[in-house]
Symmetry: C2
Amino acid sequence: MAHDKATVRTVLDKARSDGRDALTAPEGKLVCDAYGIAVPEEGVAGSAAAAATLGQAMGFPVVMKIVSPDILHKTEAGGVMVGVKSAAEAEKAYETILANARKYKAAARIDGVQVQQMLQGGQEVIVGAVTDPSFGKLVAFGMGGVLVEVLKDITFRLAPASQEDALSMLDGIKAGDILKGVRGGEPVSREALATLIRNVSELVGDFPEIAELDLNPVFASRNGAIAADVRIVLDWNPPPQRYRPSQQEIVRQMNRIMRPDSVAVIGASAEDGKIGNSVMKNLINGGYAGKIYPIHPKAAEIMGRKAYASVKDVPGDIDVAVFAIPAKFVASALAECGEKKVSGAVLIPSGFAETGNVEGQKEIQEIGRNYGIRLMGPNIYGYYYTPRNLCATFCTPYGYKGHAALSSQSGGIGMAIIGFSRSAKMGVSAIVGLGNKSDLDEDDLLTFFEQDDDTHVIAMHCEDLKDGRSFAEVAQRVSKKKPVIMLKAGRTALGARAASSHTGALAGNDKIYDDVLRQSGVIRAPGLRDMLDYARALQKLPTPKGENVVIITGAGGSGVLLSDACVDNGLSLMRMPPDLDQAFRKFIPPFGAAGNPVDITGGEPPKTYQNTIRLGLEDERIHALILGYWHTIITPPMVFARLVVEVVEEMKAKGIEKPIVASLAGDVEVEAAAEHLYDHGIPAYAYSTEIPVAVLGAKYKWARGAGLVR
Amino acid sequence: MAHDKATVRTVLDKARSDGRDALTAPEGKLVCDAYGIAVPEEGVAGSAAAAATLGQAMGFPVVMKIVSPDILHKTEAGGVMVGVKSAAEAEKAYETILANARKYKAAARIDGVQVQQMLQGGQEVIVGAVTDPSFGKLVAFGMGGVLVEVLKDITFRLAPASQEDALSMLDGIKAGDILKGVRGGEPVSREALATLIRNVSELVGDFPEIAELDLNPVFASRNGAIAADVRIVLDWNPPPQRYRPSQQEIVRQMNRIMRPDSVAVIGASAEDGKIGNSVMKNLINGGYAGKIYPIHPKAAEIMGRKAYASVKDVPGDIDVAVFAIPAKFVASALAECGEKKVSGAVLIPSGFAETGNVEGQKEIQEIGRNYGIRLMGPNIYGYYYTPRNLCATFCTPYGYKGHAALSSQSGGIGMAIIGFSRSAKMGVSAIVGLGNKSDLDEDDLLTFFEQDDDTHVIAMHCEDLKDGRSFAEVAQRVSKKKPVIMLKAGRTALGARAASSHTGALAGNDKIYDDVLRQSGVIRAPGLRDMLDYARALQKLPTPKGENVVIITGAGGSGVLLSDACVDNGLSLMRMPPDLDQAFRKFIPPFGAAGNPVDITGGEPPKTYQNTIRLGLEDERIHALILGYWHTIITPPMVFARLVVEVVEEMKAKGIEKPIVASLAGDVEVEAAAEHLYDHGIPAYAYSTEIPVAVLGAKYKWARGAGLVR
């Protein structure tokens, strides 16, 4: 546990003073020893005879490798011989290796030949570490050989990783079952392997100059995990620390921005079609109750409000300044905001980094830092915060209050969020445009939404995380309290190319995003519509108390598809205990299907739905319900919807709340029924057996990550 | 190519006369030799000395195995020794094997010890064959070792498989790249390996009594593919041939059923709420122009039509009889239909196999066969055929004519089809309920829709294929002409369990379904909504002429998500040639993004969309367009929709037609724009970047399978 940092420091300092960016094998062993990373017995021989002696001492077979600071790719140089079986072979191998090395690079400094115990048996795996521009140090784990190369079967975690993180990596690869022993193989020691992974992660966490580390292969067996080969690459120029205010400071700033008492509109206009006009209209018509100050060089009054030539002329304090002026005027107006001690600048204008004007963006970034103004954007539509009736945007106002906070990096996606929300009557607490993210980004928003009682679920569209490390740290904390959903665009090589031409940002390796988001408890939405559906449903669904899901369906066909969807979304259909099975059977026709799904069959009256749903809610062993409705004359859609709401409210009065979702198969009347159900807390979907299960699955995924289930 | 069937016949006859259900290794070798399946050199030794001599002749090392008709699991019996290196070792091994075998099963007949050339090097793969209850003989291929066991990395094709089918199997597994040579490995001979697979498939195709065959491992190398071990299991009781009328006969029958001149309603009723009343109403109000005969024991007239006590009393011919009577009356009424030479019986009633009444279903099945009446159902909602305004169902009538034919095994899913179609204004040619499929099933429908000019795309919900082999054969033919989409329910173990409790049908192995559907050119829909979206869009999209897809987007953020979706759906974003790039740049602002997506940026007027879309249609190198619209004041949603339609129609007049799909990001007005676009042949979707690309991807998948692209 307590690592020997001093030894590592000495080894690294020596490499640095030599001007090297890699460690030699013996240095690698020293570093591994210092961090409890098991490596084979070994020694360095300066002569053929010494090689033979070393081999005899540790026992043959051995592996012999050239030791030279100038030869990194030892195999390529002919500097490696494996399976050396005797003293005579060791002497011969020594000479061969030296000759090969000289042929490869005549001027190479040669420190000798390493003689190493040859590891055999066990499962070959790979453990490594990399430095990601956004996430920083990451530890990696994968199976050796073709599995990592052909199937890209590798997984990452932020370093340092906990023992639990490390253990999760063993199950995080597709071929993880191999470690449990297949085809007569022995299972490996999971603790030993996880400990090795954790130690590697702590090593790179403690020494930022270790840019890359490779243990390849590591032999994992029942008895332990030993790294057969160590490769450590150094970087003496680590990236500069990013600007990060304290969490407390962020909360203070964000509270002034999201819940302002006063808003100035720089570039306010009375002229229809102007952005400064739309912003004014939205603020006023949206019902914002704070002070609104139009800023305009000449006008005395705009839309009935007294106008000022500069924010500096405004008599009272200003919390937020919304910019609706061309890019070239932003810097000077921003400086004035600084002098006025404005807390947040909402930079709608485009014409910065996204059009190549990187310098212009840097300039405003610096002004913001100097004055302590937080910048939203530039290149955004603005933002909404419904608890304050605040529509600080040029888009149409949005007023349907609720508990989903959404953000988008792109304006187009922001418009899709607004349109979908309005159309699907999604209750929203906030919608925020982040655009070029010159300053405020996802982790600032998370920090605010964490303590915002009006926000119960957070959904973010994002093309890149400028500071993935900070985001992950904040998300890890926030996701324990509220679901955090992310649509990470640029997932694929093609998408990433488009992302990079769009924002000038380097798109990250998607596998890293995937693993780190999971490690941080973030639910990743596969697509735009999924993100929207999750945000809409998750704020309604109560948190499940356990894994037992039961399907109650009037349509057998829906039952099958809902079961398929349960598997797709990682949900467990409860194995029905005999007494519960009997209890359900009491309510359904004799030819209804037993078990789970509970198939009540098609021609049943409302009472059958009612009785079975009530039972599903009352029985404590059941934790969540999926309803499959089939439109019939006997139980029309609205009758079904009302009876479900009735039972749910009856149970709520008794203190029973469980997540319920519904799939409605029927003619167009089911759409109104779905709406009625959603309005009463039951996410329901017409013509789909997948969406209801997907949103329930997302709720479960979150609840598991937050430690609320199991 | 020409196989030696006679030899195989002799070997099998011998096994049969011995009463064995497996072949010995030497028999296996004979069979392999007869079908050009390479196996190692070998011989059977009757003594230790003979084993040594054989080994010397073929060269050591060798593998030695017990030969006994009574020992199937040779390894378990201690009957296998590998790596026998010399004559002395061979003699010793002979004695050991015999001793082990006697210990394992004292009474076992022992024919000797097989001495076999030991194969080394090359890539270990598995080739096999199985018999599926629905699909019959299938050939299987996978990588050896952990890849098949842990990752279930195996793929199937119907046997016999063509060389092309066999080649496709090499790419059909996840780890297929290994065969191309990785980590310095040599690529294997694809032709040799495919030939071996094809030969195996022909062998099991020619000899139905071969129930299972395992070549494990097969060593594939640059020089060929040799099966190191052969295991053949026999089944002397192959399932009986299924009833299969000729394709011509099916077309004749189905034409009378789908385009009837006269329909009888058995159980017609004037009483509201009765199924026989709903059917009458739907026939009449749906506008069916043929003769309608109500059948009722007493009534003289129902809904203004003369009623008859029996179909036999009806003066003219009857093409179709719709049954709206309880299950217990069906058999006798069906027999009367038989006497009347009715072509099709539409059996709405439930109460047959799905409620356990298997005998009742068998009874009506036999009546149908005897009289040559085709049965639809039982346990269905009926069917629609819009070109004849025919709504022979108790559900609500559907009249929006178009070119998608849909079917469902389940009634609930049928209602979802009707509701979705009406809500999304999907043009439909037919909706058919198949229910218990006592007779008519998916391949009968396919055969009809193949030659139905009103049907351009076929979409089927299905829980099991009673005769997967027939379906695959018909689908292979039909899918060359029209897209065939299938939603296969019961994909997962859980879903399959629900399916089997629902219909009493054995759910098939999903991997087999997946592979065979692909082999048959069927597009598999991952979920219900996907099936509906595909059916709705594919009938509108022209067939692409090549793989070059271009995204034109006003929202950079949509561009990234659309690119992601392209990768997810197997679409290739065209690499933009410099001249075309320049041509696009002429129309877009200087900071618009180069390449593909073409990012025209957000604030552009209609002209920019118009110019770029026109260019995308005019340039012959581009084969399909994906549009990303961003709602702005400058180009409002309906303006965008109209301009797209205008350009598309302008190009159509010049003979240019390409598939176009659109993703609309904006406020709720985009929904009307999406509808306008769809009405004019451009599938367009509000708030989604995934669905437009998924439907285009489905069209491509079909076109590739049908050989229309590339």
